[in-house]
């Protein structure tokens, strides 16, 4: 039953991604100002949204680990696995944002990159979570998870700064399309394509987040089993 539900979810996600692509390329009208180039928004913005949500999951996992590591170690390990999965999949989506953004910028502004507040804070966010992953990969010992959780919490503080950066400061990056000042927004004919792609990328993100979580839980079980075997061998 569980396998069937998972299979159905995979099929649904693939269907959503295909439908989202069709909507973005063939259904959404060409933008009056930017022409075809505007279609990058259908991958760029959903990727940023998914990255933000997954960094929030990582934050929740990090807080959960720090709160329960003494009282409820089993729950703390689960929280830690969510923290890692959220950070890693968030980095994947943030990488997409940082690669598709300059492509859009090169054609729209004539430059690949500028050190404005939105771009710089996004790069800093990516660097913080890459350092989080490197810490988890190379640090050893019982304190590694605690240090990673602390870094994960500090890293998440950058998310609202990235989100608000083009509201607080004048940036080369355009003002927010949604939730911006008066007059902002998207032409209603483009909204369905945008929402389909938002749904599709969230579905894909949840899928790989669940897979990453499962892999990490399995890793924890192997590590615990090996530790137990080593302990048995010494007795």
């Amino acid at each position: 039953m569980k396998k069937a539900a998972f299979g159905f979810y995979i099929v649904l996600t693939i269907a959503l991604l295909i439908w989202g692509y069709y909507q973005a390329i063939y259904v959404a009208p060409t933008d009056a100002m930017q022409g075809e180039l505007f279609r990058i928004i259908f991958y760029h913005v959903p990727s940023a949204s998914v990255a933000f949500v997954f960094f929030a999951i990582s934050l929740a996992g990090s807080i959960g680990y720090l709160s329960f590591r003494r009282g409820n170690p089993a729950f703390a390990q689960m929280s830690d696995a969510w923290a890692l999965a959220g950070a890693e999949v968030g980095v994947v989506f943030c990488t997409v944002v940082l690669l598709t953004g300059p492509l859009w910028g090169r054609r729209a502004w004539g430059i690949w990159w500028t050190w404005d507040a939105r771009l710089t804070t996004t790069l800093v966010l990516w660097l913080i979570y890459v350092s989080y992953l490197l810490l988890r990969r190379f640090a050893a010992g019982p304190q590694m998870q605690t240090l990673a959780a602390v870094l994960g919490i500090f890293g998440a503080l950058d998310v609202p700064i990235v989100y608000m950066s083009n509201r607080w400061w004048r940036t080369q990056h355009p003002a927010p399309v949604f939730g911006g000042s008066e007059g902002s927004g998207m032409d209603p004919s483009m909204v369905p394509a945008f929402l389909w792609n938002m749904g599709a990328w969230f579905a894909w993100g949840i899928l790989i987040l669940a897979l990453r979580y499962r892999v990490e839980r399995q890793q924890q079980k192997i590590a615990a089993s090996e530790a137990q075997q080593a302990l048995n061998a010494t007795i």
Binding site: Y43, L99, T100, L211, S225, E226
Partner: protein, 49 residues
């Protein structure tokens, strides 16, 4: 199609391709890790026996 439209189209194709390369590359890495882990788990189980 004028030159601007062709270039715009190429940039859109590049952005979509990069997105898929990153996402599918990560999925492949995850599958590789999963397979390696399964082998490690089997080895560990055999050792325990």
């Amino acid at each position: 199609m004028d030159e601007k439209a062709i270039l715009d189209h190429q940039f859109v194709v590049a952005a979509y391709t990069i997105t898929w390369v990153v996402q599918l590359g990560y999925l492949a890495w995850l599958a590789f890790k999963w397979r390696a882990q399964k082998r490690a788990a089997n080895r560990s189980a055999r050792k325990a026996r």
